[in-house]
């Protein structure tokens, strides 16, 4: 695979060095803007519900949880729809547009629970639909040996948006003395801008190499975006990839036929099933630290800052030494965070250590997993494959969070955390074996 570098891939690397493909930067900008838009709303929604509308928190929890399960299936549909007829840009754009429009829905719904529920559902569907096509465009627009960096750049930009969104929302509420409608209107405008940027700058189907199938890899499209207009327009030589029988009309479960993909999915699901979920990590931190409680809501910002600053280095490292390395190391960092929670009482060390390790975990695993899977998937079935992978991981994490919550309630914090540590260590060992075979195979 991509690790077995041939002369051709070497050439590709030289072409691509120092530059990220235009579509990646374009999608990164779209994600940045869109995340500002969506995190603005996410941050104020509970307040809006309970204080402004006077709804019961119970109702909010109900509406909020209602759609989380459905997102997984929508994602599969989005990936499949993108592959069929090679409509990545159209499907992703529809998702972005749907989420942007959902802000207007919130505005128009007023206090109606039904309307708010519909708006939330539209937002979730949009989010689910767009993810896989977007990641497929990123991977199809980048040379296979620079995928890690490409995803790193995208995730760094994406996280920047997620970090800015809540700050913008709180600033707006402060400036307007709690005018939630202003938050929704601004969020809609920002989201719409994201859609327009996608329409203008993200390449459509004619620019994606999905109509051919392996052994041709994804060629670089270096001058697709305004940021890199003067680059040489020679496409890279075909790099090495696994041979694909690749039918042009992929079926939704096609990626399962490939043992390499099965192993990646297995590793991602195993590790996902051993993560306890961020909510619990912050809850545990909150229990062990008793400093100024009102700053607590800002803690995840620290982890996000680490994430966005390390996403690119982690991706580059993956490109150089093999993407399983950062992927496994990232989960080892998560293990370290759990161990810290288990063993340390020292406030400052615990706080800084856990935020740092969580940030490292996301930087080294989120985009890297897509970069790991990209080359294994045929271009024509990439969005479906990525959707499968993301769905598998998300479902595993959902199960794990539920399991940890139950263990916490039944056994108490420490036994539950010890179980989580053991489970993650075991999953890590299994995944190391699974992914080593994967790289040996070539």
């Amino acid at each position: 695979m991509y690790l077995a570098t041939t002369g051709a891939a070497e050439a590709t690397r030289k072409v691509s060095r120092g530059r990220v493909a235009g579509p990646v930067l374009a999608l990164g900008s779209v994600s940045l803007v869109t995340d500002i838009s969506s995190e603005m709303v996410t941050a104020v929604l509970p307040l809006y519900f309970v204080l402004h509308l006077g709804l019961s928190p119970l109702q909010f929890g109900f509406l909020d949880g209602l759609y989380n399960g459905a997102t997984a299936l929508v994602r599969l549909v989005g990936g499949h729809a993108a592959d069929r007829g090679n409509r990545h840009k159209l499907v992703a754009g529809t998702g972005y547009a749907l989420s942007a429009l959902s802000r207007l829905g919130l505005l128009l719904a007023g206090g109606g629970t039904l309307g708010i529920g519909a708006a939330l559902a539209a937002d979730r569907i949009g989010k689910g639909v767009r993810t896989a096509p977007r990641d497929a465009i990123i991977s199809l627009s980048s040379p296979p040996d620079a995928l890690g960096r490409a995803f790193g750049v995208h995730r760094a930009m994406d996280t920047t948006g997620a970090l800015l969104g809540p700050l913008a929302a709180f600033a707006l509420l402060w400036a307007t003395a709690d005018a939630y409608d202003a938050v929704f209107v601004v969020s809609f405008c920002v989201g719409l801008l994201g859609v327009l940027m996608l329409v203008a700058f993200v390449p459509g189907r004619e620019a994606l190499p999905t109509r051919r199938y392996a052994p041709t890899p994804a060629p670089a499209v270096p001058d697709a975006a305004p940021t890199a207009p003067e680059s040489g327009s020679t496409a890279p030589e075909p790099g090495p990839t696994i041979p694909e029988p690749g039918p042009a009309r992929p079926k939704i479960l096609d990626p399962f036929r490939d043992p390499a993909f099965r192993r990646i999915l297995g590793a991602a699901a195993l590790l996902g099933a051993a993560t306890i979920g961020d909510a619990f990590v912050y809850l545990l931190l909150q229990r062990q630290l008793d400093f100024a409680v009102r700053w607590f809501p800002l803690l995840p910002l620290g982890a996000a800052a680490v994430y966005l600053s390390l996403a690119v280095p982690a991706g580059r490292l993956g490109d150089r030494v093999g993407r399983r390395v950062p992927f496994l190391c990232g989960h080892a960092a998560l293990l370290g965070a759990y161990l810290l929670l288990l063993t340390t009482g020292a406030g400052a060390l615990l706080l800084v250590g856990v935020l740092l390790l969580i940030g490292v975990f996301y930087a080294a695993t989120d985009g890297v997993l897509m970069a790991l899977a990209g080359p294994v998937l045929p271009a024509a079935g990439r969005a479906s494959g990525m959707a499968l992978l993301q769905t598998g991981q998300a479902l595993a994490r959902l199960l794990a969070a539920a399991g940890f919550g139950a263990a916490w309630t039944l056994w108490g914090v420490r036994p539950a955390l010890i179980t989580a540590v053991l489970a993650l260590a075991a999953a890590l060992a299994c995944s190391a074996v699974l992914l080593r075979r994967l790289e040996r195979r070539v």
Partner: protein
């Protein structure tokens, strides 16, 4: 369905892409024949998106400025103090978001309210002490419990996290308690948990989170990390109190003792107890249906016989009821317009029928 032959998807009519040349349009619009938009030069696209960005930014800015103008100037001083014979409440009509009052005498029209009290999300007052749970926007937004004196001037301010939920003052005005939903501003948590505090205004001693209290459940000492308390109601002696504890999906009524700092579970399925002025009965909300639709009904529990009976209110009430006198309780129900609520009153013995007491109000507190 048999698998279609390879490349049969050409029916989409898109010209096969040449293998080597990237076909992304460059500045010269070389590829322009295929789709009109792709033909637009990069510069034209940048200009178009920039123009759209300017338009959208203008819309956002104009709307925000308009919203900021709508915001009422913040007043700190209250237009009135705590005087016996008045029903205080948070107004959701005239003077929205601020405390208002009405003479308690029957027959006073709700329009005769005096507005201009402190701005609160939740309010309660008794014995010359007011408790105002309020929220100030910021990064992050912060909630406060503000202790008010008999003229509704600020005496003490305690910074909190979460969304204000319940507020109570003991009859003497000495013991204060409030409950916050510990979520909302957080990036991380998805489920609601509560944090209940108790403040002794005589000693100034503050219990930030009462979940460390020694709890006896089913006759045994009970430990669980998931205990949550809410809805405290103090007795006349300023020592005994009632509250709700939830653990492992069940809620219990507990009787607590400040001096020994112990609590004992009395019975199941009791939330937000409110002790009558004569300290003999509790009105509480009882969960009668699982799920999120209409889950609660108001019940009264006689503490001497431990018998409970439903009140005549047939709607689901999510509030800690407040006693207007020894025979009547008041509570808020959502109003017709969004963000509004109405205060209703119903006899506390299960007889009669609910009556609209104050349209456009919540957090009722009768000052005697």
């Amino acid at each position: 369905m048999p698998a279609p032959p390879p490349l049969s998807s050409d029916e989409t009519g898109v010209t096969e892409v040449p293998d080597v040349t990237p076909v992304v349009p460059d500045r010269r619009g070389r590829d322009g024949a295929r789709t009109p938009f792709a033909a637009a030069s990069t510069r034209a696209k940048v200009i178009a998106v920039a123009a759209a960005a300017v338009v959208l930014a203008t819309v956002a800015a104009v709307y925000t400025v308009g919203a900021a103008h709508r915001a009422e100037p913040e007043e700190t001083a209250s237009a009135f103090g705590l005087d016996a014979g008045n029903l205080y409440f948070r107004s959701t009509a005239a003077g929205h978001g601020r405390v208002a009052r009405l003479p308690a005498a029957p027959g006073v029209a709700a329009a005769d309210r005096t507005t201009g009290g402190p701005a609160c999300e939740r309010f309660y007052a008794a014995g010359g002490t007011g408790l105002c749970l309020t929220r100030r926007p910021g990064i992050p937004p912060t909630s406060y419990a503000v202790v008010l004196d008999g003229r509704l001037r600020e005496k003490r301010r305690i910074a909190l996290t979460g969304i204000p939920n319940r507020a109570r003052v003991s009859a003497s005005g000495r013991m204060l308690s409030w409950t916050m939903f510990a979520t909302g501003d957080s990036y991380a948590t998805s489920s609601f948990s509560t944090r209940t505090s108790i403040l002794d205004t005589r000693t100034g001693y503050l219990i930030k989170n009462m979940e460390e209290i020694q709890l006896t459940l089913g006759g045994r000492r009970y430990h669980s990390p998931d205990v949550n308390y809410w809805g405290v109601s103090f007795a006349r002696d300023d020592n005994r109190f009632y509250a709700t504890v939830s653990t492992k999906g069940h809620t219990y009524l507990v009787e607590g003792d400040m001096k020994t700092w112990k609590a004992r579970a009395l019975r199941e399925n009791v939330e937000c107890p409110s002790l009558s002025p004569d300290n003999t009965r509790l009105v509480f909300k009882k969960r009668v249906r699982s799920g999120a639709t209409d889950p609660w009904r108001l019940y009264v529990l006689d503490l001497r016989t431990m018998r409970e009976a439903p009140l005549a209110e047939g709607r689901s009430v999510d509030d800690q009821a407040a006693w207007l006198d020894d025979r009547t309780v008041a509570y808020a129900l959502p109003g017709r317009a969004k963000g509004t609520s109405d205060i209703w009153a119903v006899p506390a013995d299960g007889s009669g029928a609910p009556a609209l007491r104050v349209p456009g109000g919540s957090s009722p507190a009768m000052v005697r």
